[in-house]
């Protein structure tokens, strides 16, 4: 097992390294002259040449990549091109905001979707199962921003219950903050709910097809006992896997949701910095996002390994 997990971790590190290469290629090599970008179009060729020399832009690309990587690893994230503020000072609160929003959505979505998934699997093709399955098809097919817009119209504009814009979530005052971020949270919940319900249902149904379930049935065990004692423990591995994958999906979902609700998170920062081509910000935001994504994918794989006895005891 350890061999497999170590192998997976190693692959994850390799992916992260590949991501740094890609981010570096995309933001340092391709977009033309960074010195020109910093100084603006009005700069004289002499000052641009001087800054190029100072920034080490004349060195070969691979050398610049390693200097850049070493700087990032040492915590020197550079300054924003837009206002010269150090990147680490800009992103700190943004990361907290994004993580809080994602956690809020997860805490609501997980129990709800697991329960609904289990209930649909308990009576497959029953009324409840048919209802959830047709509802989930629609939620899977609809883009997140459409869900968000409908929620804004209903709950913010017409009913006036929740704000549609979150300029500054006040995490110090929890009830207020939960109200402020209710609509962004609900949008995220609705986007991942359908996936988790469907996959939980599929995972439990898969287990219910096994011979040992039939055995339990023949012994006369009641349905509730079969599901709780036999099905859930065995479906847990795949379910945890699905959950981790969906949290990884949140990484993309949160970008769009933050833009709609003008929420001061890392996702909106990333989009804004792409629009304004603020390269140092793009680099760091992209690395943080990819880091989370890779970590969640790894934990999905590791739980899958740990939950499967054949892999767990593999030599």
């Amino acid at each position: 097992m350890f061999k497999l997990i170590v192998r997976r971790l190693f692959l994850g590190l390799l992916t992260l390294l590949a991501i740094t290469v890609l981010v570096f290629l995309g933001t340092e090599i391709l977009p033309g002259d960074v010195a020109q970008a910093i100084l603006g179009q009005a700069a004289t060729p002499e000052t641009v040449a001087a800054l190029r020399e100072k920034l080490g832009l004349n060195a070969p690309p691979w050398e610049r990549y390693f200097t850049w990587l070493a700087n990032i690893l040492a915590g020197d994230l550079g300054n924003s091109l837009a206002n010269g503020i150090p990147v680490d000072r800009i992103i700190g609160q943004r990361i907290v905001n994004t993580i809080n929003l994602a956690l809020y959505a997860t805490v609501i979505a997980l129990p709800l979707s697991l329960l609904l998934g289990l209930l649909s699997a308990a009576w497959p093709e029953g009324t409840f199962d048919r209802m959830t399955s047709s509802t989930t098809v629609f939620f899977i097919s609809i883009p997140d921003f459409v869900i968000a817009i409908v929620l804004i119209i209903i709950f913010a504009r017409e009913l006036g219950w929740f704000p549609s814009v979150v300029h500054r979530p006040r995490w110090g005052d929890v009830p207020v903050a939960l109200g402020q971020t209710f609509l962004p949270m609900l949008t995220l919940v609705l986007t991942i709910l359908a996936h988790i319900i469907r996959m939980t249902r599929a995972a439990v149904l898969d287990v219910l097809k096994q011979p040992y379930i039939e055995m339990a049935l023949l012994k006369g065990a009641p349905k509730s006992r079969i599901i709780i004692r036999h099905a859930i423990p065995n479906a847990l591995g795949p379910i945890v896997n699905v959950v981790a994958l969906n949290l990884a999906y949140l990484v993309s979902g949160v970008v769009i949701v933050e833009v709609i609700f003008t929420y001061p998170g890392l996702g909106r920062l990333m989009v804004d910095s792409v629009i304004f081509r603020d390269l140092p910000l793009i680099q760091v935001a992209a690395l943080v996002f990819c880091g989370f994504y890779v970590a969640l994918n790894i934990s999905a794989d590791v739980t899958a390994i740990m939950a499967n006895p054949r892999l767990r005891f593999a030599k």
């Binding site: 098809v137 899977i140 097919s141 459409v146 119209i153 599929a202």
Partner: protein, 288 residues
């Protein structure tokens, strides 16, 4: 061999589309029709400002009202149909061509080449797609070719894995063996022997990828990083008219939003039906 032959024969008894599948077929046909004919019948040019007042209510001169700049919403929806459907379709087809070429050749050549292709696909799949697109757009800035190629590349790795898995089974069959013995070239084996047998299993994947293209392109445009003004697809129309949410003229933002939703639901209804026909459920397909 027998198993596969049996399966293809049984598939020929295709269940007729049910009500939902028909709804999907009608929606997708309408979408294609709009993409081809929409811009031709649009009453106004894409960027034409036809009214002094923004968010004008629907009336006789502007059937669906005007948008944030006083442009005809109906005309923009009709023009946007071509971009939304066209770019999504082009990206999906291109992604399939790359993915199938990689997947089929990996299944046929095997060995080191196969290992390398698999590693490459896995590597690509471990990037968060939206972030990858943002980085590409940050460095190359957004244009039609960049958008199509980016979405296609995102598809290619997944398509490569699926088509490799399908082609593996077919490459082991006797008629491919015969083709090899006959001395057919690699390209001929891939195109004439393997490809025809994979069409049906890959059709479901095509539908799923098409939905994904539409959602992805709309999301990028919604973020302001997709189709650039004055052109507009449905995603950018949602973005432009977001301030309608404040004024109460919801129709300007709801129309393009629902247009996207109806189109993707339509494609998924067909996918669900195709999936039921070939025995694969949509929930298995949506894992990636």
């Amino acid at each position: 061999m027998n198993r596969l032959a049996g399966r293809t024969r049984s598939k020929r008894v295709r269940p007729r589309p049910d009500g939902w599948a028909w709804a999907g077929i009608v929606i997708v046909a309408a979408g294609l029709l709009l993409a081809v004919g929409g811009p031709l019948v649009a009453p106004h040019e894409v960027g034409a400002i036809i009214s002094d007042s923004n968010f004008e209510a629907p009336g006789i001169s502007t059937l669906l009202g005007t948008d944030t700049l006083g442009r005809d919403i109906l005309s923009r929806l009709l023009h946007g149909a071509r971009l939304t459907v066209g770019v999504a379709l082009a990206a999906t087809v291109l992604g399939f061509l790359i993915g199938m070429a990689a997947g089929f050749s990996a299944a046929e050549i095997k060995g080191r080449y196969d290992d390398f292709m698999l590693w490459l696909a896995d590597m690509m799949l471990s990037f968060p797609p939206l972030l990858l697109a943002l980085i590409v757009i940050a460095s190359l800035s957004s244009s039609l070719p960049v958008l199509i190629c980016t979405i296609a590349v995102l598809h290619a790795s997944r398509v490569a894995r699926v088509s490799r898995a399908v082609a593996m089974n077919i490459a082991a069959l006797e008629f491919v063996e015969v083709a090899r013995a006959r001395g057919e070239s690699l390209v001929s084996i891939l195109v004439r022997e393997i490809w025809p047998s994979t069409i049906r299993p890959l059709a479901v994947e095509f539908g799923l990828r098409l939905t994904y293209s539409i959602l992805f392109l709309s999301s990028l445009s919604f973020l302001g990083l997709g189709i650039q003004p004055p052109d507009a697809d449905w995603g950018s129309m949602v973005r432009e008219n977001l301030n309608a949410l404040q004024t109460g003229a919801y129709i300007a933002v709801l129309l393009p939003a629902f247009a996207i939703a109806i189109l993707t639901v339509g494609v998924n209804l067909i996918v669900d039906w195709l999936g039921a026909v070939s025995g694969r459920s949509i929930s298995e397909e949506l894992t990636g």
